[in-house]
């Protein structure tokens, strides 16, 4: 059973989602305020957190910021449909994905599964370690080291970085990145990959010539530069 934390002030909704998720093989717990959500998310008991952006008092975005300051637990945001600002802000702050409200619980489960697949990769990984220049990735442990130090990336960022590192020096299309790293096909006007990539870029810092380690190739995709 995968344990899920639901943070949403709508008690009726969370009650129904818990029932739904239970059938789909998730063990869901619900809390209804931002403070409780933060506390529970940091307790280490949950594999994944579903966080509503529109919480009374402490907003979902603020809760996300506080959780990310300490923990890399996968987080899925529930955002209002059509509210792009919350989405981009959420992804920039390190949310792994978002599900617009209202959408079917089936969609939420699909997103949760996609993230869990990334976090818990197949039992027998083909490679133990991926190296590209000063970047070392251990997919089994979801651990990344960069220039000798540990690189704090979210699980989604790790998956993207993994895809890029596997084909280091080559251009990886956004379609492939979406399918392999995010677990869903690329949609039109989907900015998720770009936001995650820009976050990874910041964490890697600039190269000696001032350019970024991950180059965008317009119309094609992204490329991890090899020295």
């Amino acid at each position: 059973m995968i344990s899920v934390l639901l943070v949403d002030d709508d008690e009726d909704l969370t009650a129904m989602l818990r029932q739904y998720l239970a059938r789909e093989g998730f063990d869901a717990t619900a809390v209804h305020t931002g403070e409780e959500g933060e506390e529970q998310a940091l307790s280490g008991r949950y594999s994944i957190v579903v966080l509503d952006v529109m919480l009374p008092q402490l907003s979902g975005i603020e809760v996300l910021r506080r959780i990310r300051a300490v923990s890399q637990v996968p987080i899925v945001l529930l955002t209002a449909r059509g509210d792009n600002i919350d989405r981009i802000a959420g992804l920039e702050l390190g949310a792994d994905d978002y599900v617009p409200k209202p959408s079917s619980p089936g969609e939420l489960v699909a997103r949760l599964r996609a993230i869990m697949r990334r976090v818990q990769p197949a039992e027998s990984p083909t490679v133990d370690v991926i190296r590209s220049g000063e970047l070392v990735l251990w997919p089994a442990r979801r651990e990344a080291r960069w220039q000798g130090a540990e690189l704090g990336v979210t699980s989604t960022e790790f998956s993207l970085l993994e895809e890029l590192a596997r084909c280091a020096g080559q251009v990886v299309s956004k379609t492939d990145l979406s399918l392999n790293a995010l677990g869903c096909p690329l949609k039109r006007y989907d900015r998720r990959i770009d936001v995650h990539i820009s976050s990874i870029r910041q964490k890697l810092g600039p190269r000696s010539d001032g350019k970024a380690w991950i180059q965008s190739v317009r119309g094609l995709g992204y490329q991890l530069i090899v020295e």
Binding site: D12, M16, P102, S103, G106
Partner: protein, 427 residues
Amino acid sequence: MMKPSRLFWKLFLAFWLATSLTFFAGVGVHEVETFEPDDPHLKVIMASEAALLRQFGVESGAELLSTWRRPPDQAIGVYDNAGQLLAGAAVLSPAYEQTVISKEGLILSLRSTHPISYEHSGLGLQVPLIIGTLMSALFSGFLAYYLAWPLASLRRAMGEVAQGRFDVRVKPMMGNRRDEIVDLAGDCDRMANQLKLLVQAQQRLLHDISHELRSPLTRMRAAIGLLRQDSERVAMLERIERESERMDALIEALLTLARLQGRPESIHREPFDISELLAMIVEDAQFEADIKGCSVELQGGPPFVACVNGELMYRCFENVIRNAVRYTRPETTVQVSTRLSADAQQLCVRITDQGPGVDESRLQSIFEPFERGSDDTSVGFGLGLAIAYSALEMHQGSIVARNEQRGGLTVEICLPRARSLREITLA
């Protein structure tokens, strides 16, 4: 610096033309006044004399001067270069002297007692005229600029407002000026600000509405998902029904609120007994209160017949009384009391609960749409009091809320007795 506007040119040309014409007319009048009829005569004689001397000689010149019937104070004399008078009268102190070479080759001096200014009608008038015209152009330009410039800024600002940029302010651009144009600029600034507030309120309302509709929709989709998982969960159908009813109620309330934004005369009114209406609502509210073990107590008065829209008044009082029942603590009483004003023209209804009250800072804002207690998200939409407020505004009534010292909230509604539609439109 902006390009001079069409208005500037119109004003400029109008002022310039007006001042120039006035100036020219003034000069003309002055000319007529100082005009001496003899002067041109003298001038003609002088010119003829000079011509005769040149063409026919001294003799002919002398003939002309002898035949000239001259005014007593005027004289023209022809002298040779030795100073000898050859023809005409003696000119002792010549005001004008002209040298002429006669037909015989003599160098003669033609003297006159009066000045003859050939220049006077030419350059003498031109200089003041040019200066005057230029000065009038300068002042006209300044005046036209002074009037047209603020209008150009105003026009630009209004253009900005039309584009939806409501932050534009014109008055500060006018400096220390004090006149109607500046007042107009102030009014425009106020209008822009008002528009900004309205648009913001509208956007917030739209945001709130979409949020309110989204919550039941999300729950409905969750319920549908559960039904898909297991078609035996019939309870979910009830849930879906409940959520759709909730959405229906929200839309109903919103439409009522929208109807209340219109003009006061747009609603249908008829004489209505408010005391009877209150008794009816209190009876209905009693059912709801019973579930909580509460009661609703009405201290009614004599009939108070007002010209109102019955449905809106019903909703208004119902919303406030049901709110009170919702928030009052279990096992307590909601008091509804009425009081007639001294002149019997106004009814005040006081509804007091024994609940937690409202933060002092929110006593005003609870009458705005979608404002509700932060701790309750499950019941109501926060539209009830907004509807009550708008309904009373439409009936020239008032509604205020205040906290009781011993706990609980009192809402006081005052409603004037408007007798006819005419009184309403006059109010």
